[in-house]
């Protein structure tokens, strides 16, 4: 019976093999790494900046940067934590550069279409009222997430979205594990407070 640890190990070995292939000159092997992690990186970046186009561009940027710096990647390390770190740095640089950016509203026309312009399947299936309710809930949570300080936002995204361990988050962000623990706690408390305040404004 395979365990989560086994799967993680297998996944890691697979990553290492692909990285080795790229380093040995087969650049097309990089496609495997891109396709394996693109969803996760994209969602993570989106959580940070809340704009689809920017998230797509930054995801591409992160992968290109990772490719260009692959020589510096230590094979005994975890590729995805290394990649996430690059993606986070790319995103942080972007948010610093961005003076003021319109938050992508969750408008009907945008939200209901996927990247290729197709109708979102879930949206298509659900009743309009339920769909609206769902989108409002998402928007409230995302609004609260957006109000967190960047450091706390990073931590909570890496934990809740990517399920990284404290050690992995510490590695991605370059901070001690204890700091991960406290940042995550305060992020959760704040989110909880903001969402509760919104539900019960007094």
């Amino acid at each position: 019976m395979s365990t989560a640890v086994d799967e993680k190990q297998l996944s890691r070995e697979e990553d290492t093999a692909m990285v080795k292939a790229v380093l040995d000159g087969d650049s097309t092997a990089y496609r495997g790494l891109v396709e394996k992690y693109q969803n996760r990186v994209y969602s993570m970046v989106y959580g940070m900046i809340r704009n689809r186009e920017d998230a797509r561009d930054l995801t591409q940027e992160a992968f290109v940067k990772a490719f260009n710096n692959l020589q510096s990647f230590r094979l005994e390390a975890s590729f995805y934590t290394w990649l996430y770190r690059i993606a986070m740095n790319v995103t942080i640089d972007f948010t610093r550069r961005r003076k003021r950016r319109e938050v992508a509203g969750f408008e009907e026309g945008i939200a209901s279409r996927d990247a290729d312009g197709g109708i979102d399947e879930i949206h298509h299936r659900e009743s309009p009222s339920r769909n609206l309710e769902r989108k409002q809930l998402y928007a409230r949570i995302m609004d609260a997430l957006e109000k967190l300080p960047p450091d706390q936002k990073q931590v909570i995204i890496l934990r809740e979205l990517e399920h990284l361990s404290y050690r992995e988050i510490a590695e991605v962000m370059g901070i001690p594990e204890g700091t991960v623990m406290s940042r995550l706690f305060y992020a959760r408390k704040k989110m909880q407070k903001m969402l509760a305040a919104e539900r019960d404004p007094r």
């Binding site: 891109v34 969602s43 809340r50 290109v64």
Partner: protein
């Protein structure tokens, strides 16, 4: 002004050894010593209870821990107002005041700075006491927990030595607020802390509710991000372009090498028979039909006609004898047509393979030059 010898006089009074002159001198010094709060200066007159007054003043001055930290804390603010610097006061104050100041300065929201941790880790400091004294005002949890998880760090050892297991938890809990709940949810506590946390969780419904709330929050955050982000767009194409790779290139695939390998493997074969046998397969009659009348030529779309022609010529070159044999057995003679379009010369075209879906209708007719022409339904893919 401060009187450095006041303490020795007070010790003598407390111990009942002082002369009347010494008591009077102490009374005078107490009234003018800025290290003491003003109200104490007048109250401590050494008349009704000279030993008690002396002991109290010694404690206030930090020379004798008679009343301990409570008294010191009580007068700390007044000492502050009296503009006493850390250097002016006695040893028991000298470590705690700058430490407290440093911790307060760093208290912010999240983490303590390195210098404070260094101070905490100093073996000469009663760390546990300092942390307990400062609890509620600062957020030490992150570094402290980190230290707990690293037995080699002096901070963790110092805390353990100072507090013991139960006291440690009591000391940490106010600072940690619900942090242990958050960390426990993530399986991030070390073994010792996890054991204490589980015990605590059993008897604490509020903590259990908090843990549930945190777990639910995580699920909602995940759903919100993924819901708003939508499906991930196609990334590889752009990445491949930027890193100088053909996005459609398949790793390890080399057409020329593959062909050579196949030839080497196959040796000499009769391709005509092989292709003919394939054309005659049972599925073919359903897909290839003889025309009674000429359909509207599908070759209005140049690309389609080109493909059809390529297919036709290939079949002609490779399998014509077999095809004609098939077509002539029990079937009417195919209607001839006049070809008005200009096609590529047959000897310029090489077809490597021809495949089409089962739902495609393939029409065949013979031109007046003897060439076989195939039309395929528009919209179908060869």
């Amino acid at each position: 002004m401060a009187h450095p010898r006041l303490e020795s006089l007070l010790f003598r009074i407390r111990d009942g050894l002082a002369t009347v002159e010494e008591v009077q001198l102490a009374r005078d010094w107490v009234r003018t010593d800025p290290r003491l709060p003003e109200e104490l200066r007048s109250i401590a007159d050494f008349v009704d209870d000279p030993e008690g007054d002396a002991a109290g003043l010694l404690a206030v001055l930090g020379a004798d821990p008679l009343f301990g930290d409570v008294l010191r804390e009580g007068i700390a603010a007044e000492l502050e107002e009296a503009s006493i610097t850390a250097a002016d006061v006695d040893e028991p104050w000298s470590w705690s005041r700058p430490l407290a100041a440093a911790i307060r300065a760093e208290s912010g929201e999240v983490e303590l700075a390195g210098p404070v941790l260094e101070a905490l880790g100093s073996p000469s400091l009663p760390v546990g006491e300092a942390i307990r004294a400062e609890s509620g005002e600062v957020e030490l949890a992150g570094p402290v927990l980190e230290a707990l998880g690293s037995p080699s760090l002096p901070v963790g050892e110092a805390i353990r030595a100072e507090s013991g297991e139960v006291a440690l938890w009591d000391a940490l809990e106010p600072m940690l607020e619900g942090m242990w709940v958050s960390a426990m949810l993530d399986h991030a506590l070390d073994e010792e802390a996890q054991r204490m946390a589980i015990r605590r969780l059993h008897g604490d419904p509020v903590a259990r509710a908090q843990m549930t709330a945190f777990a639910n929050l995580g699920a909602r955050i995940r759903a919100a991000i993924e819901g708003e982000a939508g499906p991930c767009p196609y990334i590889w194409g752009a990445v491949a372009e930027r890193i100088g790779v053909d996005a459609e290139e398949v790793a390890g695939w080399d057409g020329a090498l593959f062909a050579a390998a196949v030839c080497a493997e196959a040796g000499t074969v009769d391709l005509v028979d092989a292709v003919g046998a394939r054309v005659e397969r049972p599925s073919m009659p359903g897909a290839v039909v003889e025309l009674d009348g000429l359909p509207v030529p599908a070759n209005r779309r140049f690309s389609l006609v080109t493909v059809a022609m390529m297919a036709a010529v290939a079949l002609f070159l490779l399998g014509m004898p077999q095809l004609f044999r098939t077509a002539n057995v029990g079937s009417p003679v195919a209607q001839t047509i006049a070809i008005t379009d200009q096609f590529a010369a047959a000897d310029e075209i090489v077809i490597e393979s021809l495949d089409y879906g089962d739902d495609a209708n393939v029409y065949q007719a013979t031109g007046d030059q003897g060439a076989l022409i195939l039309w395929v339904d528009e919209g179908k893919t060869l």
